[in-house]
């Protein structure tokens, strides 16, 4: 069975500081990995996704994530955090292929607080 672990429930950083959110997954085949962001009072929005190719993927809002197969990790990073980045971040894993969206498993989320 596939699973996603986000070890950090809550992270606080100062504006302008760098950020790394951790995600570890368990999946029997080559995973399809995602990061979604949920701003307060909003639905989830896709930040970036990875299936194959370059293990460093770029997303929207200046975010990037690195896939490390040996560590079963897909950590999200941003070099300089903005106050508007305060939100809940979800990592998700699923199969690649037709209908993959139906089989996504989400992590429990990491709440990001940004200090002025």
């Amino acid at each position: 069975a596939q699973s996603v672990t986000q070890p950090d429930i809550h992270i606080t950083v100062s504006e302008g500081a760098s950020l790394e959110l951790r995600c570890n997954y368990s999946y029997g085949a080559t995973p399809y990995l995602f990061w979604y962001v949920q701003s307060p009072g909003q639905g989830l929005q896709l930040l970036l996704k990875y299936f194959s190719g370059d293990t460093l993927v770029q997303g929207i809002k200046g975010f990037e994530a690195e896939f490390k197969r040996s560590q079963s990790s897909f950590n999200l990073r941003k070099p300089s955090v903005h106050w508007s980045d305060a939100a809940e971040y979800f990592c998700a894993v699923g199969p690649f292929g037709s209908g993959s969206a139906r089989q996504l498993t989400f992590g429990s989320g990491t709440q990001l607080t940004v200090l002025p």
Partner: protein
Amino acid sequence: DTAVSQTPKYLVTQMGNDKSIKCEQNLGHDTMYWYKQDSKKFLKIMFSYNNKELIINETVPNRFSPKSPDKAHLNLHINSLELGDSAVYFCASSHSTANTGELFFGEGSRLTVL
């Protein structure tokens, strides 16, 4: 134009009542979902419909009944509401043949059962 829209955004009701949440998407997708997000932000799929046909029905009480009149709409009706039903319910959509795996979410409907 909102891609996936849900109504109402907030719902406060008494135990035992029946309530409905409506969802509409204008993305041309053929698959729609209902997710439940509990107080700890854990997101769990409840139902999925593809072209009006139920394809995923997770372990959800029979009090929850989804209905899809067409592929652009997926409503959720809840009978005999219980305290534990309090949560944020998200509607989402995707294209069944797309390999991207991307889900498009509505803004959520916060249900509070008193």
